[in-house]
Symmetry: C2
Subunit: 415 residues, 2 copies
DNA sequence: GCTCCTTGTGGGAACGATTCCACAGCACAG
DNA sequence: CTGTGCTGTGGAATCGTTCCCACAAGGAGC
């Protein structure tokens, strides 16, 4: 394998000169420059990233840890992360933690050993224990989707409470009063927040919560199926099921099919997180869709700022609104996809902003990026809420401009 | 960051001793052993993979290059690759080449610079140009799904000709005589093979092929939609569409919906490759399902053998049978999922083997692994065809035993 | 008593880049 | 004529491991 030394001798200069040429810092005469270029071309030299990384303590690797790689929600996040990372010369390693703390821990150790430049993690949940080495070794880290108590890091997440509340309101508006909740693992903040949203919507509608209709366990399809079967077998009456994510919905659907129950005629069903491809093939599942791609881009953007040392402040938190997509499974009369409008505290859904983009208003991505730059310590901000005012007031700085440019160059979005 | 030197001084031994302890070769007294363990624990030492890789010219990174990360076919392959890789202490980097040669080329260069231990690639197609550096630098490489002319490497692929022929036969058996083919990029072998299968089935049934009903372009959803629209607009009559993969089917479906055409009542539809999650939610699309997970495990297995130098022979090729899953979109009367039985030359479908596993017959994975070990140069072998006889005759060697053990420990399969 | 083997350990040279420092040549100011 | 600053280059140390080699202590065999 060709080394920088080979290039140097062939070009008749020293290793230092070649190194300066490659890195672009320091003086290199046009003459030497030409000879080095030729030499590199001739022997097909590719610098050894190991040697470089060893010396510089930098690498171009970004690690993304996800709990379930086959879930398209995480794949879409990966696309977002990857697109931004690649544009900045970074590559993405994906680790599938399979919802197990031990695997997560192993990956974290490996990432540290590999000297990754940064880590984005949708954590398995529960304790911060498996992520702790990241803090200890000061590896730039951004959380995505799932908050971890006691782990001080930037985070991009969905508005789980409001999202689930809106989803529940949808079912309530269709007349359902006994709504079962097939939740995920309560060790994850996501599950707790979604349950809170469910409770809030029911309380607002003055519907009593029946705790026997709330089921939690882990985030796997099989478990959701088992628990749904148990709910059905319990004899407790309910007319609708709210699943805490798309995989839980698949599990619930399995259990319902096994009993021959038709959806939505006999039991209505809705869930958090979309499965875009499934919806394309057959628009069936009513979902609260999260802007997964944008979540990925924003997380990577935050990570870049941390890695570059541009951002040294405290923990930042971006909360993104999701939007309701009504399809058949909830039994709504008008089962065409609807983009939710302003909901709750004047929030504007991502889809709307994108749709309105042609009239000069900012795209969802621009907006989120601007909001990102304006997030202050400890202050929770909805990127799709406080948008326009922030965009106008925020003094544009380098990282914001860069991100906006990136966003503009991005060919595809979330949906 | 703690180094091996810190550990050594703390434990009162030399770097060499610590190194021997970590790598597990060479003598280390129980006494030193205990002190080193304690020291590592105390200072939270994680060996620097860069330094190690620089010295050993080895890394624990496996690169997987896929053309479209959001397609669950490739995600499932990734799961297979990852599971086997992790079990052998390797990590997987995923690169999304987006069906573009330039991106593929860039990833290949990066992988070489990163000193990856091996590469598995579902190539963008056309020429071998972008992969050529892998050959030049002698990086162990295995192709998956897509063969590349002139690129001499092990490959795991589906039986595209037979698979597509069977899919066409299914439509023919339902009475369709004018069947449109929405193919992918003819620069990829996959597309050419699938077209060949389509032609073969029609020829066997003595149905004339109407070339105007065959459309090819690239592998993107949008293009398939455009081309399907064009076919519909052409006025050429057809009663069914065969899509070359799941994404093409989504594109076709979009075009059909736009024209208000019902599937399967007005036009029947079937495609190659399943989308498991979509099918779970609503069993709609009739597909020729490939054993994606197994493809991943086998590719990784072959790669391990190349990396370890156990295998030095010529190019090996494993061809896996796919199986027909009949759902609603093809308009078959009995629209329940069926596992195809023996088809053509005595081939046994993967699903059947797995289903029959309890009676002592080998699992699909065992079988494929055994077949793998027996593949001879230039000889095309269907892992699910010649199975039992090979299993009996093949002298078990180390790599086969190891792979079989791995297969047994694998918790989940393809479907 | 010498050699040989085993067990156990440490020294030091790599691996292939980066980067600090020194220095050569040259122009120009004081 | 000396000092200073600039351009352009090379030398050499360094990053954190691995691994070859040397060597020490102790026992066995001749």
């Amino acid at each position: 394998m060709a080394t920088i030394h080979d290039v140097a001798t062939r070009a008749g200069v020293s290793r230092s000169t070649v190194s300066r040429f490659i890195s672009g810092r320091g003086y290199v005469s046009p003459d030497a420059r030409a000879r080095i270029t030729a030499a590199i071309e001739e022997i097909g030299f590719v610098p050894n990233a190991m040697a470089r990384g060893l010396k510089t303590r930098r690498s171009s690797l970004i690690a993304l840890l996800v709990p379930e790689i086959v879930n398209s929600f995480y794949t879409t996040i990966l696309r977002g992360v990857e697109d931004v990372a690649n544009r900045h010369g970074f590559q993405v390693i994906v680790g599938n933690t399979d919802e197990t703390g031990a695997k997560e821990r192993a990956y974290v150790e490996l990432m540290i050993a590999s000297q990754v430049a940064g880590v984005i993690v949708a954590a398995v949940g529960g304790t911060a224990a498996s992520l702790e080495p990241l803090l200890q070794k000061r590896v730039p880290t951004v959380l995505i989707d799932r908050a971890i108590d006691g782990f001080e890091a930037d985070i991009v997440k969905g508005d789980n409470v409001d999202g689930m509340a809106e989803l529940a309101r949808h079912l309530l508006s269709l007349g359902h009063r006994q709504i079962a909740l097939v939740n995920g693992d309560l060790a994850t903040a996501v599950a707790r927040e979604r349950e809170a949203g469910y409770r809030r919507a029911l309380a607002e509608a003055e519907v009593a919560v029946d705790d026997a209709l709330i089921s939690s366990g882990d985030w796997f399809i099989d478990d959701a199926e088992r628990r749904t079967s148990a709910l059905l077998a319990s004899g407790r009456p309910f007319t609708a099921i709210l699943a805490a994510n798309n995989f839980m919905a698949i599990g619930a659907l399995r259990a319902l099919r096994q009993r021959g129950l038709r959806v939505p005629e006999e039991i209505a069903l809705a869930c958090f997180d979309d499965i875009e491809q499934a919806a394309e093939i057959e628009p069936f599942l009513t979902v609260m869709a999260q802007p997964a791609y944008t979540m990925g881009t924003l997380a990577m953007q935050m990570l870049l700022e941390r890695m570059g040392g541009h951002e040294r402040g405290g923990r930042r938190e971006i909360v993104l609104a999701s939007h309701l997509v009504i399809r058949r499974s909830s039994g709504a009369r008008d089962a065409r996809p609807v983009q939710s409008g302003a909901v709750g505290n004047g929030r504007i859904a991502a889809a709307e902003l994108v749709a309105n983009g042609d009239d000069g208003s900012p795209s969802a991505e621009d907006v989120a990026v601007v909001a990102l730059a304006s997030v202050e310590r400890g202050k929770e901000v909805s990127a799709f809420g406080t948008v326009t005012s922030i965009a106008k007031d925020a003094a544009p700085n380098r990282s914001v401009e860069g991100a906006a440019r990136d966003a503009a160059a991005t060919p595809r979005g979330d949906e």
